[in-house]
Amino acid sequence: MSHGGHLLFIIALLPFIGALVPGIMIRAGRNACAAFTAVPTAIAFIMLLILAPQVMRGEVITFQLEWLPQLGLSASFFLDGLGLLFACMITGVGLLITLYARFYLSGEDPMGQFYTYLLLFQGAMLGIVLSDNILLLLIFWELTSLSSFLLIGYWKHLPEGRQGAKMALTVTGAGGLAMIGGMLILGNIAGSYNLTDILQAGDQIRTSDWYLPALILILLGAFTKSAQFPFHFWLPHAMAAPTPVSAYLHSATMVKAGVFLMARMWPVLSGTDAWFYIVATTGLITMVLGALIALFKDDLKALLAFSTVSHLGLLTMLLGFGTDKAAIAAVFHIINHLTFKAALFMTAGIVDHETHTRDIKRLGGLRHLMPITFLIGTVAALSMAGIPLFNGFLSKEMMLEEASHTDWWGSHYAVPVLATIGALLSVAYSFRFISHVFLGPQREDYPHTPHDPPFGMWAAPALLTLLVIIIGVAPFLAEGIVRAAANAVTGQELKFYLKIWHGVTPALWMSGIAVLGGLVLLGLHRPLDAAWIKAPRPEAKAIFDRLMAGTVGLMRGITEATHTGAISRYLAIFSVAAVALGWAAYSGSGLSAPTRTHLPVPPVIAVGWVMLIVATISVVGMHHHRFRALILIGIIGLSISAGFAYLSAPDLALTQISVETVTILLLLLALHFLPKETPKESSMGRKLRDGIIALTAGGGVGALAYAFLLRDIDTISDYHIANSYEGGGGTNVVNVILVDFRGYDTYGEIIVLGIAGFVIYALMHALLDGPAARRLRNTDYSQDRSRDRHPLMMVVVTRVLMPIAVVVGLYIFLRGHNQPGGGFVAGLVIAIALLMQYMASGFAWTQERKKIEYHTMIGFGVVIAGLTGVGAWLAGQPFLTSAYTYVHLPPVEEFELATAMLFDLGVFLTVLGAVMLMLYSLSRIARFAGQTVNVGPMDYDPGHPYTKEEDEGAR
């Protein structure tokens, strides 16, 4: 870790921490919100400036923090010339944008949200340019896609905004996916995921068989992000974003991420034919095509968007050339493009803000109304056109110079000619920007009479324009940073000087042709525009929408073909597959000889067996009559519970008994509001088919169990039994497994149980708001009923039983660690004790006497269990490691205290809360069905006799 490394880490972290603030600070006003957004950005910027001299000297500042070393993922950052250039751009322009957005956003826009998104994006972007680990870089890469999605769709009420955001996310996200693949391949070849290592392994990577796949995948990521042909279409649609976003993301930073990545990987990936032909060609096409479309766009921001596409193409082409000089030109142009394009976007935003339109055909003659804006816009546009004494000229000259001696597929003219055409078109649309917006006669029909905006709004573009002129006149001022960045890109010490006059070179001629041709083209714009509008051309959005609709349709087809929603089908597929696999395993190696013999079957056990079988078969035969089927299920539950008890599984028996009772109650509650008969739906053939599948699957499982029971097989049970007391401090192996060995599973399960409780509650809530509630109110459920709603006998018995049941529950809970029992069973027992009260005296009466909300109980349960697990960390142990000790308090026998007990308490509370919440939710239906509430605990209270009339009155 080098000197200043910690600063680097802070720089990367600052925007993320800062992102938490604007959302709150907006309550203190818009100025405060903007100011607090600027603070982290400004601090990061200053820190970068502090580190800058070191980097300019050629040092590389690094910071190392292991994250997941097993995966090769570390939170490592490094800062070299290229990183410094980009980081300064991101934070510097970020500051200007913060200022600009303060004045740009109207009072109705949620500004806190905007600044939060902006800082999130800034953090992600800084992460990309500072990451020393490509996995980390990928994370930040995805983060930029996500945060830009939020920013583009910031005006949620605009359909263009939402669609543009979706399109941008789809395209860049898909590219990001490809890039993940490419980066993983790259890391595999180099044997390390650290960029610094990868950058050293250039030769190894270029000669690898996997070079081409990695190259293509990584370029897919870079091209989608940097809007290269044919992925350029998302950028113009992303212009539905507020202008500060367009200026920041779509000219200065995010779209340059692809360029940055190509520059970053330049020493490793460039220098091959594949690189040259893919990258330079794509760049060249993008440059010319983008410029051509830009010329005919009437929307100011669309014009700038396509011009950005074109300039990104230019940068890509330069990097694609693979020569040192081209790399220098690319780095220099990145700076220049940033200054003039961000200024132009802000100018467009000002024009839009003041005139309420961005349509060039409705503008013109603004130079008198908005002189300051005119000046800023003109200087920036002249620089974009590449006119001498503005910075755009310098880098464009360097580009043309490079293009003039680049051969493409044996042709000496292809690249220079196309580059000149690109430059020519660029001149044309730049001049169009000036002349059609600002020049010409003043009009009377602006949607809103414009004037220059307040200082705060034009300050940022003015500063950028100042840079345009300074660099344009005195390019040597930018030499230091350009050299540092170019050295970092190429990985060697470069000697060069930036100057205005290079003598009469081919580039100068090409530039001259471009300017003259551009002027001619502008003059011919009206007829050309008419021809352009008539000409057929592919509409990217329509194609994209069709493509998306096709993909969605295909996926839906697949989903619907496989997921019909019929559980019988899933079960059939699952059962048949399981049986087939089991059969394959059996027929593969067969079975070993049985090592155990049959135990005798006592006659009484045979009776239980008969009960189970008869009841099961009867359920199948009688399931159309639902209530009868429920009674039969009662028999099955009873037999199974007794079976568990008999077969030495008392824990299971206790659980099964309680679960059976709760299940029956739940089913009966639901059945009240359901039809009492199931209609006959299945055909005979279907029944036969399903019957065969069911019998085979059931028989298969039975055979498997039988085979296991007859053989001695080593299982993990032996380990559990041996270590239960030693490791978990309990003699009840089942409980120790639940709260200790597999405590993590149990923790997950109680969370799921809690969620299930909440979901039932929420579903019921939604259900009772909908048409179901109306149907409930209009159905009469009260025919043929006994009039005794709350019989005295029952009330008395349940009251007496309540304390007994609670004591039993506590007893089962406390002894759980060493004897059968535990939190789960105890929770169910207490739940049943409470349910009895609900049944006896009614829902509303009991509900009034309830002190703790069941929701709270679930929450506390999960938190207590979680905290118990976390407690182990304090002792330096892994999550949920239990500890126990023996305590001796004089009147009581010596007893054990284990942390597992606390965990079990969490289980207990969650189970109790979840079960009660489920029953509570189901019981609520009745209230909606128009049921009345009783005042007394029972229908006839001997202590307080009241007449039937009173009761009716209470109803």
Partner: protein, 89 residues
């Protein structure tokens, strides 16, 4: 001696279980079936206790107790369903 007593008792309860099963199958109405199921629960409690006595361990006592305590809750619920439709009013 206890051996014979246990066998006798267990046989009786086993037969009772079968008779309960018969009653549940035959009906004729819901009340018969609910009553038979409740009797079945009681018989199972008895069998568990007997088994505990035979094996000389108290471990079967708890399931038996729990069935005794909560078993009747389902019976009550079945009855309320038949009488009032809604088991928690």
């Amino acid at each position: 001696m206890i051996e014979y007593a246990l066998i006798f008792a267990a046989t009786c309860y086993g037969v009772a279980l079968l008779l309960d099963l018969w009653r549940i199958a035959k009906g004729p109405d819901a009340a018969d079936r609910i009553l038979a199921l409740d009797t079945m629960v009681i018989n199972v409690i008895a069998l568990l206790v007997l088994y505990g006595v035979w094996r000389g361990t108290a471990i079967y006592f708890e399931p038996a107790m729990l069935i005794a305590m909560v078993g009747f809750v389902s019976t009550v619920a079945y009855c309320r369903f038949v009488l009032r439709g809604d088991i928690i009013e």
